[in-house]
Structures are given as C-alpha cells and as structure tokens.
Amino acid sequence: MLRDVEARVISNTRLSPDYNVIALAAPEIAEATQPGQFVMVKSARSADPLLRRPFSVFEVLRSNNRVEGLTLLSKRIGVTTKILYDAVAGDRIACLGPLGRPFEIVDPPVEAWMVAGGVGLAPFATLGEALLARGTKTTLFYGARTGAELFYLDWFQSRGIRLVLATEDGLTGDRGRVTVPLERELRELESRTPSPESRSQVMIYACGPEPMLEAVAHVAAKFRRPSQVSVERTMGCGMGGCYSCVIPVRGEAGSERTRPPHYVRSCIAGPVFRGEDVVWD
C-alpha cells in the first residue's frame, strides 16, 4: 500500500566524501517494498527543492524480527542528495512509496548475476537477500571509479554472494568497466556448456548509469541471456502523473508482445525493464 511518511532519520553513515547510507524510520513502506522498488523523497522541513527525487530502497532494516525502517544509498550530486548527505539523526525526510515495478526474482537452478555500477548498487542488497532466501546462487559484479568507492563488500560476501569487482584505475579487480568481467564470465560459461540442452541458466540484473545498462543489455543479448535493468530518468512524481520519466521501449511491458518503439513512463512501467525491451539511444 502506498504511504507518505515524514520519516525520522535514524542514522546517517557517510561512506566517502560523496556517498552515504541514510536510515529512515518508515517501517510501513519498508515492509511493503519489493526488491527494485523505489521511494520519492524530499526534506520534510523545506519546500526547496519543490519536487521529490527517486531512490531505490537499499536495505530493509530489521531488529528482533520487526521491520524498523529502510536505508537509501545516495551519491551527492544535487540539492536533494546534499540534504541526504548532510542529514543528522532526528531530521525528517518525507518518504513516499513503495513505487514502481520490482525485479522478477529467479529460482534455482537459474543463477542470478547482479551487475552494479557506482550508486547503482542500491537495489541489490534487497534483491540479493530475496534471491538467497530462495536458494538462488547469486553473484555481484560491481564496478566503480576506484576501490575506495566500492562499498558494503563484506555485507554481500558474508551472506554468500560471490563478488566480482572492477575499477577504472584497475587497482581493485578488473581494470575498466564492470562489463569487462561480465563478458569474460559469460564467455567462460558458454565454453563450459556448449550444447543448448545442457546450457546453465543465468538471469542478469543491472543497475547503474544508462550507458552501462546499455552495455550490459548488449552483452547479455550477445550471449543470449535474459536481463532486467533498473533505469533512472528525470522523474517528477513517481506515480505516472507527469509523463516526464519516459523511456522508449519496443516490448509490451510484462508480455512477449512487441510493438514499434514507444515511450512508457519508467516510474510505473519500470523502473525495471527487460534489457531487450529498451530502445537504447
């Protein structure tokens, strides 16, 4: 159920000069959130900025089996992300959600490969937990500019998620974009199971900058693997009211039908799309 909560800031952890994880006391929203869904947030104390901004729910916070709230992973780039970065415990953040179409979660024997670029790590904590709860073997491919911008590695590793890292400076993991190790492992998988019948199944999940999503969708298609990408476009309302966050797709959302390219609202038809449905620029 949709709710708007003036959530108290429980804590705010600055991970780097740009990145932070802010914990918000919005248990009703957290409880209802499925992996890949998002919330629209703004300061509850100021009308500037006017519009809310979308954030994937990063973690659902639990204590003694009770849901306490949710966290957002944020990178400081604009006014709202600066408010989130500077917030202190006790501040109030208006939080509307949960919103959007979640990821489709795969079951064994299908494997899950999550591909994150930078702040695109955000939806993969809840998705990873949901996959593991079903016993799905899960890998996180995670790329950033430098090793200092790779966060929560222990969090994923301690839960049994295999990590494959890439940095642009090459000091941690592969040198280059996260699609470098992704493509290598897809090729290795192909060579291990050459016959179509014995082909092991993989679902690729991706979140990050749009050029990265395009590259992931392209690599996935090249190796004939399905993908789900979580996009972010400039969003006004998050509810389907304003028609600002549109993205061109050719598929009919949620079905096998195809149509000529047309704009759909990424807030309600997405933010999760099949990689092959999106018409990349």
Binding site: M1, L2, D4, K42, A47, D48, P49, L50, L51, R52, L96, R233, T234, G236, C237, M239, G240, G241, C242, Y243, S244, C245, V246, I247, H262, Y263, I268
Partner: protein
C-alpha cells in the same frame, strides 16, 4: 451551523466541491487511486487528448526551477478512442466527475472530439485546451487569438450539450478579454491559467535544459500572477472562473476563491504530495467554520479592496 456546502455549479454540472485535479498533472486519474478516492474530488481533469495517440517530446521533459518547474511533455497520450475504451470504464466505476481536456490541431478536430465524447458515458464536462505552450500545431494558436477562441468555443458548443470550459493561456497581454470572448461564444466557464512559456539553460554545457528548448512554468512561482489574472477575469465575465497556478495549500486555494474563482485546480502540488486532496478539503472546511461561511459560493470574489487609508488622508 450544519455541514458546509462546498458544491459548485458549472453550467448544468454540479461539482461536489471546488477541488479539481489539473489536466496534465494527474495522468488519466486511475494512476492515483492508491492516494485518493477520486469520488471525493470535485472533478478530475484528465490528461489532454487528441483524436489520435501521440508520443510527445523526447526527454528531458521537465526541469525544476526556483519554486516551480518547467515542462515540455508534448501531450503524449493514448488518443480519445483508447481513453474511452481503456480508462473511462474505470473512472465510471470509481465514480469520478470526469472533465476531459481536449486538444486539436484544427477547429474540426475539436468538434470531432466533442462529438465523440458527448456520446461516451461518464464524461461530465469538456475542457478545451487552447493554451498548451509546448506544441506547435493548433491549440495555442486558437488561445492567442480572440477570434480563434470565439470560433472554437462556439463550434464546440454547437455539437455538445456538455458544459465546456476553455482553458486559457496567460501568455497574452489581456487574459480577461479572452475570458470575455469565451463567454460571448457560449462557454459555461473558463479555467486559467495554463503554464507560462519559459526556458532554462545549463550554463556549463550551454544547452537548454529541455529537449523542446522552451516549456511551461508551473508551481508556486506563478501563483501571484495567476491570482491577479483570475481577479481580472472575475471582473470581466459572469460565467464561473476556475482558477489555478501554484496552489499548494488550502490557504492558496482560498486566495484564488477570494480573488474570484468558483473552483480551483491543483497540478504541480499533486506531484509533490499525492495525498494533498484531503488536506486541502479539511483546510477549506476549517476556514469556512472559522469565518462562519456556510456556502463556499458565498466566499467567491469577496476580496475587500476598500482603502483603509481613507480617513487618514481626509483628516
């Protein structure tokens, strides 16, 4: 004192209260059912419809500016036939008072849309979009000419018994004369203002923020100008005036009503807070109780412009 009477008369149509969701800011209404019971609204003005589906402009379609936003969506929409087949049955089921906003490239298209919608079940009124600043063809060319406004209103009036409400642009020198042209042509009400033509530039890249280069400014930034325009129109016409422009609270809605609006539309604020409607209704009711006003109609246009300085000057 009994329950406050919030009802508003627009031609033959009675709205149960003066709060209308503004066209272009509320999708087709059905998107908002998790936030608001549509039957509790005075009206739902659905997203502007052409005869045929339209894709609209490429992104970027919006950008935030101080206390407001620019948009150039380009009237993306499903067209009137899919609206009647896919959205109207749901709106009927939800018992929404549906005001269909129609857009044409030619006078004949407005007439055709009015004919089609007059035959559809569950349409309460037509709002004529002659004021969208974001598309080249039609619409605004009618809305920026007194003859064009008169012609489109009278042509539509001939083919429908539905109340018709031309939506006026503020991008003219004298908006009141357009209200008068609408009234002369037989409009049942006028709604104003649509957005102000505006633009914003990213100085680092020197590129316009919107793909369409220019767009329409809405939000609290425009409210004082919109209030002034509603005030001018109230003095120019007898038909109901539906005011809008940056309303974000009950106080703002009351400001428009006191300036002369019989009803108000809320757009941008619904993006920020889709739960705003009950807060607006509660705030207006509370104000009426505090000021001992039993009918909202009794508040319309009650602005007191008598000078308080008189005695001091004469003494």
């Amino acid at each position: 004192m009994g329950l406050a009477d919030l009802s508003v008369q627009i031609g033959a149509l009675t709205l149960k209260n003066p709060l209308i969701a503004a066209s272009g800011c509320f999708g087709y209404g059905v998107e908002y059912t998790e936030a608001v019971d549509l039957s509790t609204l005075g009206g739902v003005a659905v997203k502007g419809l052409f005869l045929k589906p339209r894709e609209g402009h490429p992104p970027e379609r919006i950008v935030e500016t101080p206390s407001g936003m620019l948009n150039a969506i380009g009237l993306q929409g499903i067209g009137v036939h899919r609206f009647i087949d896919e959205k109207l049955p749901e709106l009927r089921r939800l018992r929404a008072t549906v005001i269909v906003n129609i857009c044409g490239s030619t006078l004949d298209e407005y007439v055709e849309l009015a004919r089609i919608l007059s035959d559809a079940e569950g349409v309460a009124a037509l709002e004529l979009n002659i004021s969208c600043p974001n598309i080249k063809e039609g619409g605004i060319t009618f809305g920026c000419s007194l003859h064009g406004t008169f012609d489109v209103v009278s042509a539509v009036k001939k083919v429908t018994a539905l109340p018709i409400i031309p939506k006026l642009t503020p991008n003219v020198t004298d908006v009141a004369s357009f209200a008068r042209a609408s009234e002369d042509a037989g409009a049942d009400a006028v709604s104003l203002v649509n957005t102000f033509l505006a633009m914003a530039i990213d100085v680092e890249t020197r590129r316009p923020e919107l793909s369409n280069i220019v767009g329409g400014l809405s939000g609290p930034a425009i409210r004082p100008i919109a209030v002034r325009m509603v005030y001018e129109c109230r003095r120019a016409v007898k038909i109901p005036v539906i005011g809008m422009g940056g309303i974000a609270s009950a106080r703002d809605a009351l400001e428009f009503i006191i300036a002369g609006a019989d009803a108000v539309q809320v757009g941008t604020a619904n993006f920020v807070d889709p739960f705003i409607w009950q807060k607006l209704l509660d705030g207006i009711t509370e104000y009426m109780r505090r000021h001992n006003i039993s009918r909202i109609g009794d508040l319309v246009g009650t602005i007191d412009t008598t000078s308080r300085e008189k005695e001091w000057i004469s003494s």
